[in-house]
Assembly symmetry: C2
Homo-oligomer: 614 residues x 2
């Protein structure tokens, strides 16, 4: 059966062992697409939020995007959704690689997993079937070995998404890993690894051959070919040096975090850890997600020095910024080693580096003493201590037990002074673009659905020269806390809100694909006749739906904040020296433009306009 | 030790088990580059041609190109050189994938293998070491299983080049296979699989981490980035639908062989077996050679019908043209199955389809009778008989024994009538571009170093719209047997003659890289200061060197011929209807422009001009 754009979902209850397959309603897809859109709708409509994210009833919703599995540009992604063990609110961790396409080809657009299995299990999903299989033999194993073994016992070309020891130990900054050692891709953020761990669910293995059909195959091919050409023309840097190629530029723009967000400049360090340096030293080959025209992945291997023998998917921008810039480590081999360990243990490198930078500042300030933490000499530029702490976090050992639940929880324990440098929004450690370098990202962090999330806006791409024919043209001031920045933030949030539901990689947006080019791909794949405005409106609906979910889960406007450091401590040097975002000015404007009331709640009028029924 | 552009070679004698490593002389590299250039020089200078290709003394020279292992565009290739078991003259089989880069990274620019091992062995080359290892356990295995097992027992990221049963059985149309089932790449032509088989050499396994260094890394990165962008802009079709995407166009231009080169048109068939159809039906993912900006490889899987379960690297243009067009098989699943079997058995799909089309015509004409060949019903459009014959050829069984040594030998046995439709030049089965559609390819087939070889010219790309800034501009008539076609052929031969020596994929030339863009890459990688003319002159030197080798091996001007069918039987329909190349007119012009005498021998004057000493 070739998949239609709607498709089927499987409901798996691990407590009873039941598997129920059902068709997805086409009307729902027209309203919410697939991916995190339909997942949010189903979460909201059918599923009562459990008392906590790790309750047995707390569902894990895994959905491929609408275009995932087609050969639209980088239509590779799957969304791992539910209540975040880290933040307690809505979460969608998203991942590329090849897993999402294989889920779709295996006959399913999505899965909803509930219940705790009584002992470790994995799901083997192939050709329309869902098997719950025993997983004792891989429990305790790292993600690389798990990937290898589960492929061996299912299908050599199966795709494996799994957790490592971190997820098993309910570490709330644990992610879900796909692709094995060489092409590791993570559904990293918000602790979905812990959600799987709580269910005794080690892995979901997928494989199938249920090809998509297209209403007009020639037309689809033409549209994709033109889109690929346009994307490639604007992605040469990304193809050659990957996301890490952006490190020197982010340092220049005051966008790269330094020393837990306290320094302003680090040009030599940035050069040392850049994608350009990776290409010339430890790079071994490019890696590439399903149907991707860019190919930003860079596998690496360290062949000399203390980290000789380390190999695997290379560290990406966020990982280098977090462990490199924010911890002032300029040794690329060490950073590759840290990255590989995080991937194997199943840790989110953003949150992990965030909590470690927090801990380093706490030790610098004497709030944590070496004697309290087995003599660990955690300081700036000290990779060995970081590697130790990575192990400790995954195994909840010593200081790792404090950090395993994220920086908000750790600061709660350590007290008020520590809270002043706990860099998170709504419990999510802040990713590595600085609101003082691009103020729009600050407004986005404050309002994004999953807390501090760079992927819900990406508006700072304008500052790095990205352009879209007929969209976001006109003047742009990266430091202005004004109406134009609010508009930019909202527009980006609404566009980004359809990307996980579509299953497309956001890097194609960086490659020049705006709303009209995106809707062309959607129409060509589905036969719909949508306009760019239709698509943006669906984005706005989805964004508002997630806001409604979060309000039900206890969020209020008072949570739309930024860490004090971004509001009161400017970068001391560099091109963004002295700049602070004015959130107090932007937030009321944002609420107003969104059609939200002064407490950050969508008004009934706005919801009606967006198609909610009274 | 980071590799310099010269590097080391290893001489391995399988009879004595000796391994000798030596430095390559930098001056030789300036004269001949690496790859098939230096290989031809060493073959010519140091090694006496053995009495036959399969003699113990007959050397196998395997060389990476000068840029192989750098990240220059598609700098992936290795040349497998020596005396061809099929043609008896110079041969260079060339392959992409990842093997060549790993040879270089393992510390060697090349290998020269002589002698017969007393029992099956393989070479394990890693980090500057060469081990001769016992291979009884994989002897008799297909190339896919061999790839898997040898990786398992050496290194999970090792690259394996190996032979299948065809090479073991000294089938003279056996190739050398790399990359396993999913990303199979073949050093296919001229029977180098038989050369390895004669040596009891099952495989060469390579892996290393000896990174290249660059005289100016920033400059190299800039040059590569610009080249990649230019190539990608002209390669969108190749990226999306691969080499098979060209099938409908070749049918339109009268370039696609049909029914052993006797029909003129097949539009519906061409559409059915095209890359476009592959993309929409059996495609599973793209595959990609080392450092390639294009990514033309297409892995496939058949999920329904009699060939369900077949998977692997998808059939390429030549394979589809040979088994599809030339045997009139329009079932893509069957063609995928035939391709996968040829890859696993280790057969050259061009020569294999060529000998089978020859056999089909011989059966049509009653020269071979079904009773003589176990009742085999070999006819046009009959994939099952083709699959049977593929097995028979690899195992030298029944009719396969006759065909296993190529069409020239088979026609010798069958007699004069059969010779009239034995489509080869100098013993090499003709690849699948028709001299009646583009006459320049005819002149090239007649004069190319390894017999009928499309890769030594590729001038027909002009007819498909390829353009090069500042090179091959001006008028172009694909049917003209005139001076401009001779000039075009020579220019292309000289440029192509440096591509295997450089290790670059010729598809970047299709992507707009001409001599000046090529030399920019060379200079940026090496620090040389060559001009485009310098590079073309080296190409001409190498081409003449190979001519000198072939003259020593018994070739004369009388061998510079084309099969009678191309000279006397025009295509009966289509856009090339009625056209015949006028070889008698072009060949004397060619000799003259080359500076060769009337018997096709380079004159002493010309050789002196090209730098040969008196």
């Amino acid at each position: 059966m070739a998949f239609a754009y709607a498709g089927r979902l499987a409901r798996v209850d691990l407590e009873s062992g039941s598997v129920r397959k059902e068709s997805i309603v086409e009307e729902d897809v027209q309203s919410w697409l697939l991916g995190s859109g339909l997942a949010a709708y189903l979460f909201s409509e059918e599923l009562k939020p459990a008392r906590s994210a790790l309750d047995s009833a707390s569902p894990l919703l895994v959905f491929a995007g609408l275009l995932t599995g087609t050969y639209a540009p980088a239509a590779a992604r799957s969304s791992w959704c539910g209540r975040s063990p880290l933040t307690g609110i809505w979460n969608e961790a998203n991942v590329g690689g090849h897993w999402g396409a294989q889920l779709r080809l295996a006959g399913f657009a999505g899965l909803i997993v509930t219940g705790w299995a009584s002992s470790p299990v994995y799901l083997w999903i192939h050709d329309g079937e869902v098997e719950i299989r025993e997983a004792n033999h891989v429990w305790g194993q790292g993600t690389f070995e798990t990937y290898r073994r589960l492929r061996e016992e299912t299908d050599p070309r199966a795709e494996v998404a799994c957790i490592g020891p971190a997820g098993e130990n309910l570490v709330r900054i644990a992610g879900v890993m796909t692709g094995g050692q060489e092409h590791n891709r993570a559904a990293a953020r918000g602790g979905m690894g812990a959600l799987m761990g709580s269910k005794n669910l080690k892995a979901i293995v997928v494989r199938g051959s249920d090809k998509p059909t297209y209403p007009d195959a020639d037309h689809f091919r033409t549209v994709v070919k033109e889109a690929n050409a346009a994307i490639r023309a604007k992605s040469e840097g990304m193809s050659l040096t990957g996301t890490a190629g952006g490190i020197p530029a982010t340092e220049h723009y005051g966008d790269l975090p330094l020393k837990n967000w306290r320094e302003g400049s680090w040009p030599e360090g940035a050069k040392a850890i850049s994608g350009q340096t990776i290409r010339e030293t430890i790079w071994t080959r490019d890696t590439r997600c399903f149907a991707c025209p860019i190919g930003c992945g860079k596998a690496v291997e360290v062949t000399g020095g203390p980290y000789a023998g380390v190999w695997g998917e290379g560290p990406e921008y966020e990982t280098l910024a977090g462990f490199g810039g924010n911890l002032l480590i300029d040794d690329l081999s060490a950073l590759a080693a840290i990255n590989v360990r995080c991937n194997d243990l199943g840790l989110d490198t953003i949150s992990t580096s965030g909590v470690i930078a927090f801990a380093a500042e706490a030790m610098e300030k004497g709030i944590i003493l070496p004697d309290d933490v087995k003599g660990l000499q955690l300081t700036w530029g000290a990779p060995e201590a970081v590697l130790t702490l990575v192990e400790w976090i995954a195994h909840r050992k010593s200081l790792g037990a404090l950090l395993a639940d994220g920086v908000r929880t750790a600061a709660d324990v350590l007290g008020e002074e520590a809270e002043s440098f706990a860099i998170h929004v709504k419990g999510m450690e802040v990713p590595y673009h600085d609101p003082r370098g691009f103020v729009s990202i600050g407004l986005n962090y404050a309002t994004a659905s999953r807390g501090a999330c760079h992927l819900e806006s990406l508006s700072y791409w304008r500052g790095y020269g990205a352009e879209w024919p007929g969209w976001q043209e006109g003047p742009y001031d990266r430091f202005a806390s004004d109406e134009s920045t609010v508009r930019l933030t909202i527009d980006f949030q609404d566009l980004m809100a359809v990307y996980n539901p579509l299953g497309l990689c956001k890097f194609i947006v960086k490659g020049g694909v705006g709303p009209s080019q995106t809707v062309d791909l959607v129409n060509a794949a589905t036969g719909w006749d949508w306009t760019a405005d239709d698509l943006m409106r669906v984005g706005e609906r989805i964004f508002n739906l997630k806001r409604l979910i979060n309000l039900r889960l206890g969020i209020t406007g008072a949570d739309d904040r930024l860490p004090r450091r971004f509001l009161a401590e400017p970068r001391p040097s560099g091109t963004a020296q002295g700049v602070l975002p004015d959130l107090d000015r932007m937030l009321p404007l944002y609420y107003e433009m969104r059609g939200w009331d002064e407490k950050g709640r969508p008004t009934p009028e706005r919801l009606r306009e967006l198609g909610w029924e009274a």
